[in-house]
Symmetry: C2
């Protein structure tokens, strides 16, 4: 059995407070922490618990970031699915060997955790993040 599971789903939104009102106050999910302003990534983010995964609402705060352009082009909605893998380099190598396209050739890192994105053209249109958990 595969041990791969969902870590989070990211949704790009126009107004994080407005969307949060639906997911928290309407649907009833628990907010993890506060709405976070991340100037270095030009976004505001809210995390909501969804079982043992979470949903991440992302609002661009400038007009020229990648995520702002995505929102302008595609409109609000799903941005990516993030799944947990145990050995990200092995998985990236396996995918590359099979002819699938990684957006990142080597893992990137945030908060001491490694991650990399698989190109939507390899997955059936889904931007897929691999996130290494030990």
């Amino acid at each position: 059995m595969s041990d791969i599971k969902i870590n989070h789903l990211a949704v790009v939104v126009e107004d994080v407070e407005k969307s949060l009102a639906f997911w928290r106050d309407g649907l009833g999910l628990d907010l993890g922490g506060e709405i976070e302003d991340v100037p270095s990534e030009e976004v505001k983010i809210a995390f909501l618990h969804l079982g043992d995964a979470h949903i991440e609402l992302v609002q661009p705060t400038t007009e020229d970031s990648g995520i702002a352009k995505y929102l302008a082009k595609r409109g609000q909605g799903m941005h990516h699915i993030c799944v947990e893998v145990s050995d990200i380099e092995a998985k990236m190598q396996e995918l590359t060997d099979k002819g699938y396209d990684m957006i990142n050739e080597t893992p990137r890192e945030r908060d001491g955790k490694r991650y990399a994105f698989v190109h939507p053209k390899s997955t059936g249109g889904v931007l897929l993040e691999l996130y290494e958990v030990s």
Copy 2:
């Protein structure tokens, strides 16, 4: 704590065998059952286990169904998120009372289970399925 969790993620694809090759043989997820042809819904479907949720690859098999038109308009990618709720009528009433829009005014039913969709304009662009589990 909310007990709402992800049941499945649905992805609309052009070619279910080709996308399955990525998710099963590339990423390494386990296929649940076989690829299923569902003429009544004009789709072919593959289910893959993803932790205790699953991912559902959906390929339209005609050109004039809702899902075929969605694919033609938006291209491949995420179609909807399905979450489990314990009392679907109470949740639908609560959302309606708060001014959110359901696509289905009353629950629909498949395989003895009840479900209903929340309109993307209420959620931040995500088509959201509520699925009742007891």
